[in-house]
Structure formats: structure tokens, C-alpha cells
Symmetry: C2
Subunit: 375 residues, 2 copies
């Protein structure tokens, strides 16, 4: 069984690490041989996943193909599907998710709660929307946004022109009501072809400069009612999309305990890295199980609480992440080094997960450990 992964980043790397035990082979398509995932497999093809001939060449000896990011052109996935290649998630899902307006519109039509939004063609569309919903509003590029890139907060009419100017190179725009949330939460869920679904624990995510920084998972972090509601929404989304694989769903939890879906990521997700050690089956293993239509693994937590902290680059440097002794001195503390050659501000270089019964204790240690690594 050879599993092809489009992209060679840390998500691909962790997919491979999770599932060598099953005896599968993994093949990577990426531009750099020394990519995080390329370094842990014998099967590598240098190439561009948006180049159709590279993609078709790559697919030849793959039994099933998956992806680690949603920015691949869905038409390329369609081309593979036409050759009867198994690709998960399917082109239809990628197409839908790639465009945030279509994504939100689909969710709305499926009666899944989302913040009010509108398509934007010109300045007047924003003024009109803001009149109905009052400032601030969020101007978003419909495609290619991630880690806060492609979003612009508009506090008053005078910000609109700058907002449009900043984002218009990214393509079409949309506008959303600004949600004054209490917490940002996220959940990973997995569905196989048969339609079996497992939902991982609901987690709280803490962003820093619009990048996921800390993830808190704990057995009693949220009221039962909230967990139930998140689970219902999540299952509805998976079924609505006829989804195969792991999906990451970002949501807002408001002060009135209202839940609004913010964004879907059709892949394993940064908010689920804690599942590697924190759950009996990781999101990575469950993604592989799902795309092969194997039964899904148990997603319960292995301890009371888990905190994941990202190791995000702070400067341009060639990072030395080999001395892990300070971090590893803490028990039930796990460090993942993605092996990126170069650190840059905002680049995800690795992550640390700490398991404890007590959430605050886990977070304290996670923060201490993060400070020991200079990237």
C-alpha cells in the first residue's frame, strides 16, 4: 500500500510518522527534497502539485492520495479523479473550502451557525453590510487566506479603501460581521467512506499574531451542552460534505454560549497536534485510517489535560533544535522538530505537548519549555 501525499510539510511528516506501524509506504510530492516529510521517506518526487503532468506522474504508483493543504487547485484533483485515482478529500470538497464565500454559503444553507457575511464587489457592498450589522466588520479575501493573512479589520468607513487596497491582489472579497467572541475553539473530526465518524475533544485555541500558538485540551474544559452542540454541528458538516478524512473546524464561542463556525480546514490541523500523545489515536493515524476506509480509532484523551504550544520562528536563522534536554527533563512532555532548514518570523518550526491531570500546570510547563528553544 503506497500512500501519496501532496506537499512535504510538517503535516505530511506527521501523517507518515503516525502510520509506518501499519506497514504502509509513503510518497511525497514537493519542490524541495529536504522538506520535513521528504526527510522521513524513501519515496519522493520533486515537483509541483499544481503542475498537472507532475501530478499525474506522481499518482502512477500511489494507491491512494491525500493532501496536507487546501491551496492545491481543485481542478488538478479533478484531473486525477478522472483517471480513477482515489484522492481524499475529494475535489468537490477542496473547491468548496478554497472559496470562503462558497464555504460559508454552504454552511448557511445546511443550517450550520455562522457569522453573517456578504459577497463584496465594491466599497458600497461593505458600507451597506456595515449599516445592517454595525462596525467593526472583517474584510476577507475569499481564497488563499491562512494564519490571518487575507483578513482586514474595518473599524469605520474610512478604513474601507485601505482594506480593499490591501486585499484585492488576493482576488475576490467577502465581508463578515465581527464576532466579539469569548473563546476561539476548534475540533477535529474524522469520517471514513463507510460514514463512520469520530469527533476528537473540543479544544480552546489561543492565537498570537493571528497564528495558532497554544491549544488547550482537557476532559472538563467545556460544559457538556457546548460539547454536545459542537459534536452535532461537526457531524452535520461531515455528512453534508460527504467527507472522507480528518477535518479541522475552527469556531467562535460567544459570551452567550453561542457557537459559530469560522472556518473549515479539509486536512489534519494544527489544533489537533496534541492528539499524537494526548489521545489514544492521533488525528494523523485516524486520517490514514479514514482514507483507507479502515475502522476509526478511539479519540479519548490519555490523560486529564494536554497543552500544545507551537514553536514559531521569531527571526531569520538556521535554528539549532538539537539540544532538547531542557524540555525533555519535564515528564510527559513531548517535542516535535519539523526539521525546517531555516527559521523565519511566523514559521512553524515544531511544537511541544505537555500532558498533565491539571490544565494550568500543563500550560505553565509548556510555556517554560517553549522559552528554552531559540528559533
Amino acid at each position: 500500500m503506497k500512500i501519496g501525499i501532496l506537499g512535504g510539510g510538517q503535516l505530511a511528516r506527521m501523517l507518515i510518522e503516525s502510520s509506518y506501524k501499519f506497514g504502509f509506504d509513503f510518497k511525497i510530492l514537493a519542490n524541495e527534497e529536504d522538506s520535513p516529510a521528504g526527510m522521513v521517506t524513501r519515496y519522493f518526487q520533486k515537483g509541483d502539485y499544481n503542475n498537472e503532468s507532475d501530478l499525474i506522474e506522481f499518482a502512477k504508483d500511489c494507491d491512494v492520495i491525500t493532501l496536507e493543504n487546501e491551496f492545491i487547485d481543485y481542478k488538478k484533483i479533478e484531473a486525477l479523479e478522472k483517471l480513477n485515482k482515489k484522492v481524499y478529500p475529494r475535489s468537490k470538497v477542496i473547491k468548496l473550502v478554497q472559496d470562503k464565500f462558497f464555504q460559508k454559503d454552504t454552511l448557511l444553507k445546511a443550517e450550520i451557525p455562522v457569522a453573517d457575511f456578504v459577497k463584496v464587489e465594491n466599497k458600497e457592498d461593505i458600507i451597506k453590510f456595515a449599516k445592517e450589522h454595525s462596525y467593526p466588520v472583517i474584510l476577507k479575501s475569499r481564497t488563499m487566506g491562512y494564519d490571518g493573512k487575507g483578513n482586514y479589520k474595518i473599524d469605520s468607513e474610512s478604513d474601507i479603501e485601505e482594506g480593499i487596497k490591501t486585499l484585492k491582489a488576493r482576488g475576490e472579497l467577502m465581508c463578515e460581521k465581527f464576532i466579539n467572541f469569548d473563546k476561539e475553539i476548534a475540533v477535529q473530526a474524522v469520517r471514513n467512506h463507510k460514514g463512520e465518524i469520530e469527533v476528537f475533544p473540543v479544544v480552546e485555541t489561543v492565537q498570537k499574531n493571528h497564528i495558532c500558538n497554544i491549544v488547550r485540551a482537557s476532559k472538563n474544559l467545556f460544559d457538556e451542552k457546548i460539547v454536545k452542540k459542537v459534536n452535532e454541528i461537526t457531524k452535520k458538516i461531515l455528512e453534508q460534505l460527504n467527507y472522507t478524512g480528518v477535518i479541522g473546524i475552527e469556531m467562535f464561542l460567544t459570551k452567550n454560549n453561542e457557537i459559530l463556525v469560522n472556518e473549515l480546514a479539509p486536512r489534519v490541523h494544527n489544533s489537533g497536534h496534541y492528539t499524537i500523545e494526548g489521545c489514544y489515536t492521533s488525528q494523523f493515524e485516524n486520517h490514514i485510517r479514514a482514507i483507507l476506509d479502515l475502522p476509526l480509532g478511539n479519540t479519548e484523551m490519555t490523560s486529564g489535560s494536554a497543552v500544545m504550544i507551537n514553536i514559531i520562528g521569531e527571526k531569520e536563522s538556521e535554528p539549532d533544535m538539537e539540544d532538547l534536554s531542557g524540555v525533555l527533563r519535564n515528564e510527559k512532555t513531548y517535542v516535535h522538530n519539523y526539521r525546517k532548514k531555516k527559521s523565519l518570523p511566523g514559521r512553524k518550526m515544531g511544537h511541544i505537548t505537555v500532558l498533565r491531570d491539571n490544565l494550568n500546570e500543563a500550560e505553565k510547563i509548556a510555556n517554560e519549555c517553549r522559552r528554552m528553544i531559540d528559533v
Copy 2:
């Protein structure tokens, strides 16, 4: 950091799987490129670890070297040490363990309890030993024995000639008192250069045709006094040998709760495969930590009980172990496929670990799962 492993079997494979997360590279020296470990790394050298020039070539770009079996000629390890290469375990330990007579003699001198034994040069040595200890006795080849190979049970004087005939091609012999044990138990322990030690839970092992078949681990499997005694013995052995890395120690537990050390394995050990999912840090990860002198990971169990069952070949065949759906339908059940091209009677093809609060339940499921795989 590039870690070299001499040998490409399943132990090497699981060492690699356990520690890609740290960002290390792994290089394998083995005769077959399609060895279990060779299939999961980019760095492979075809060669024989008992050929000194292959070994020296291999060592050139390795920062540290370890081994997955103790049958490598210790003089070859010495040669690497003379080149200032870091190799763990050290040649001195390998030398000692390779010869079961020296091994037992060292343990005895360190006041570690072992069954009575004697060096055998001829038939009379056995007759004399049996007169003192009464039949049955076990005739053993001093070197190269594993999975029951190299042992011969002598029930009476009339068996002696056949025993010597069977074993003499393997080299020098020794004789041991036959222990009518209550249980065979085992423990893995790990020590880094600094001298920090972690001992994994004591487990019960069940052999089938002299090959480890089932391993039972459970939080309350043994009386506290026995665990304490095993821990004392284990630490003494590690310190006595000035050991670095994971060691597997097989022991007998007699009906009078006497503990006798049967055998040392200077490497990760089949009785510790359950630690991958069953403990917060696996024996494999802890071995890598130890040889790099990193702090050792917590060895507590992640659930009440764990049962590991080996997938041992029963016939010559090209095994198809890809349909894992029957096994994976059971929650907290993990399967490892070593990717051996060919199954043979007695060959270790993989293993299954089941986690449960209740030990008997775990074992029942492990047995059911094993029956689903035809190798």
C-alpha cells in the same frame, strides 16, 4: 543528528518510528535494502555489520551508533570505539552478554540471583552437576542462542550425548539447573550516560515453542514486594554494567516468590513492545534518549492493562497483512506490521497491542485479533 543502527529488522524499524519526531535522521546497515527498517529511512547502506570495512564506512557520517541485536562480533564494536565513534551499548557489554557463561558469572559475582550453573567441557561435567542439583538440567550453548535455539533439556544421563551432539556446532557449552518457575517475567530498563535510570513496569511473558508469544502488563499484576525486588535487581545490573540504553531482562518467578535472572538482552526487547502505546514513553524512544544522554521519559502506563501478542509466522508464504479492518474494529487496539517480504514458521511478522482497564479483557481481544491474521 544522524543515528546509525546496525541491523535492519523490526527493532530498528520501531526505533526509527519512535524518534523521527525529534528531528533526527536514521541510517541502517543491513544486507537487504527491503529490510523492515530500510523501508522507513532515506539513509541505508547495504552491507554486513560483521565486516569491519563495511562498518567503518557506515560509521563515517553517523553521530552515534546503536544495535538491534547482540550477535554482532564485539571486536567489531571495539574497532569503532578505537576510532572514537560513540557506540551504545559498548563493546564491553556486548562481549559479556554474548557469552551466557560470562553473563551469568558476572551476575553471580554482583550478587544478583541466578539459577546454579556450570561451564561444560565434557559429559562428566554434566553428570557431576546433575548429581549436585538433580535432573532435569538445561544444556545451553554459550553463544548465539535465542528463541530457545541453543538450549537442550536433559532429563536423565541418557539424554546427555544427544544434547551435546545437538548443540556442539554452536560452540562452547554450559549447564544450568532447571527452574520449575511459576511465571516467566521480564522488565525493560533504561540508563543514560549521566546514570539516570527508569524502569518500565514488570510484565509476565508467555512463550509458545520457546518464542515470546504474549506479554501481559498491568498496574497491579504483581505484589509490591516483587516489583520492588525486580527494580532493585534491575538497577544493580545497569549500574554494574555501567550500561547505556535500554536493556531487556528476562527473569523467572518461582512459586516461593524467588526471582532469578535468566537472561539479559542489551537492546530493546520483544517484551517491551507494549510500551509503544501502553506507556507514556516507549522503550524505543527511551533508548534513543539514553544513547544521546537526554533526560529519560516517564515509563508509567497509559491505561490499566496492556496485552501484546506477537504475529508469528505459521507457514512459508508471502503474507498479506494489509487488511487490518478486523483488528482495528476493536478500540484501543494497535497493530504493527514489520513488512517482512516472506513469512516462515517462527518468524516475527508483527504484533498487536490491546489497552484495557481489565487485563483479561485485553488478552481475550488480543487473541481474537491474532486469529484474524493469516501468516
